[in-house]
Amino acid sequence: MDKDFIARGMQRCSTGKFLLWLFPWVALLIFGVYSAALCLIKGLNQTNMDNRFAFGAWIFLDLTVIALGAGAFFTGFLLYILKMKELKAVINSAVVIGFVCYSGAVVVLAVDVGQPLRAWFTFWYPNVHSMLTEVTFCISCYLMVLLIEYIPIVLKNRKLREIPSMLVFEHELHKLIYVLAAVGTFLSFFHQGSLGGLYGVLRGRPFAFREHLGIWPSTFFLFILSAAAVGPSFILLTTWLVEKISRKKLVPPEALRLLGRVSGMLLSVYVLLKCVDTLIWMNRTSMVRGFVPAQYYAFEPFGEWVLFAELVLFGIVPAAILLVPKLREKTGWLVSAAAMACCGVALNRFVQTIQTMALPTLSFDKFLMYTPSWQEIGAFLMVVAYGVLVYSFSFRYFELFPQERQLRIESAAAKPQHETAVGGR
């Protein structure tokens, strides 16, 4: 039964093994749904957030997840707009990852707000001055675009394509996919930017506030750049991980190397601009507001090492590795550098959200710490489990890596020939 849904020529594990793989994730999902339900039914008192720490782990993880999910739009942009054909090998996987990241983030956001049923008010009474309005509009539009981009992947399923209307619709939609890729790129640019702007505009938080270029703070542009830089890295990382877990060759190594190269180039530009931005902020923006930057790093555990780690360890170092072709050739270096780049962007989002909240603004404020409650962690694990499940199903039943079959055939073709050559001697 289950086999009929798996595309011909794709090797997938047995149904029993697949169910065994699903089991822990489903268990995690149930636990997560319970946690989230507690937060929705009993209210946000279930979290350890408070009036001073109004944003907590969820916002940090949302921002990180959305930055990592940027691979979807950026790979689409490289493939459909810049015509980098090698990336066709990962585009479907990128779309699914993007969809998982964005929908997961939206679910967490829905739990994070106090009155989720009023979410539509943002559309009904939008305050165009608010960065959050921009974020909400762009994320919901982009999620819609991702959903539409996900449709052809689903419709290509072996059983579904036997239905002529599905087949035809998939074909026609796929022909127009570049329009969606362009719209997605546009929306992603704005919401990645406005997620950065979210904190950069906070005049009341000099740690986060940045100089403005036009109507947007510098973080607007830095977030776009950093998301575009790590998006490909994350696709690289997940693809490598899926290859390891499924013990299959899924994409040609050139595709991964291209992702690494693109990531490295953008990352180096990002780190450069980030350094310039940090210097301007330290010497001007913050000082003008009476806040001595050294003071931000005077509170343990957020010492200067945070800045060092963000800029050097997880910025310059992975950028350098990804830019050196020799190192890029070696999977170990490539994957490690991609992982470091992802850590760097996660650290950046952490600093922007958590450290901003923890630092005092009034002279008689305390430096605050906060540890997420198990409900908060559970609700986030729900999204992780959801993501793994969606991806697992997609990987099993849809063709996330179009070259998988070809690579399998190629490796099958390579083996006997090799043997022949040996035998021939």
Binding site: G43, L44, N45, M49, D50, N51, R52, F53, A54, F55, D112, V113, G114, Q115, R118, A119, F121, T122, W124, Y125, P126, N127, H129, S130, M131, L132, T133, T136, L198, V201, L202, R203, G204, R205, P206, V288, R289, G290, F291, V292, A294, Q295, A298, F299, E300, T356, M357, P360, T361, L362, S363, F364, D365, K366, F367, L368
Partner: protein, 259 residues
């Protein structure tokens, strides 16, 4: 909202708080909660999850005895006038700045509970309803009908007793006046303060006590350099007290303030 006060003289309501006179009795906090139908604390609430539209902090000069000195500093919404951080943050216009009064208003029934405004506020003057508000049985009879109680999951804050402003405006309108009688519009904390440390009035009217207070050399505003133009003026004759308005000093493991 914009057209409501067209033709009226525009006011800029503000406060002056003489911290040298504040005894930290907490009367303003209780009177405010009673006036504005803020529910009593949930059993799980603490000083970080409570609802105190006005909150009195005990702030010291950071020195050890015998040089230690403390003052009590009431903090409420500072009614920022320029680039109002919360107004610019709210995604759905649940925060508004009334151009006719300068008062930063909060519409809890519009609020989504995203708490972005709380992150934006440098004064921590915004409070989130972490729990369903619960009044002990019968206590709802003591609630003020001029103020709608809020629900769980929304943000609320000081609005200079909007209910009292509304009542004063209605009274003025009923008697054919276009301007309110200042005696009719006094926020609850001002009325409650036993030492008269808190004064309230129209800052744009030079004859009011607050306008005069705001111009004395003793007056200062919290984090003035942020450029948010708050309309709460604090006053003290002591230099170290004036310095509490500035950014935190480089004393990492400073003794936490009680308040």
């Amino acid at each position: 909202m914009i057209s409501e006060n067209k033709g009226n003289k525009k006011a800029r309501y503000g406060m002056s708080i003489d911290v040298d006179r504040c005894t930290g009795c907490g009367g303003c906090m209780v009177a405010c909660a009673s006036e504005n139908n803020v529910a009593p604390a949930n059993p799980g609430a603490n000083d970080r999850k409570g609802l105190t539209w006005i909150r009195v902090f005990k702030v010291d000069n950071g020195q050890e005895y015998p040089n230690k000195r403390s003052v009590f500093v009431p903090m409420m919404c500072q009614q920022c006038g320029e680039e109002t951080p919360c107004y610019l943050a709210c995604p759905q216009q649940a925060v508004d700045v009334d151009p006719s009064t300068g008062i930063v208003g909060q519409m809890p029934e519009r609020c989504l509970g995203c708490r972005y405004c709380m992150a934006a506020c440098p004064y921590h003057a915004r409070y989130f309803n972490w729990w369903d508000p619960v009044w002990p049985a019968g206590m709802e009879k003591t609630m003020n009908p001029d103020v709608a109680p809020r629900m769980r999951g929304v943000v609320e804050k000081c609005n200079f007793c909007h209910g009292r402003w509304h009542a004063a405006r209605q009274k003025a309108a009923a008697s054919g006046n276009r301007v309110l009688d200042p005696a009719d519009y006094v926020p609850a904390c001002v009325e409650a303060c036993p030492t008269g440390a808190i004064r309230f009035g129209d800052l744009s009217d030079a004859s009011t006590e607050v306008a005069r207070n705001s111009k004395t050399p003793d007056s200062f505003r919290m984090l003035e350099k942020l450029g948010t133009e708050p309309k709460i003026y604090y006053m003290s004759k002591r230099q170290w007290v004036k310095e509490i308005a500035e950014a935190p000093k480089l004393t990492p493991q400073k003794e936490p303030a009680r308040g």
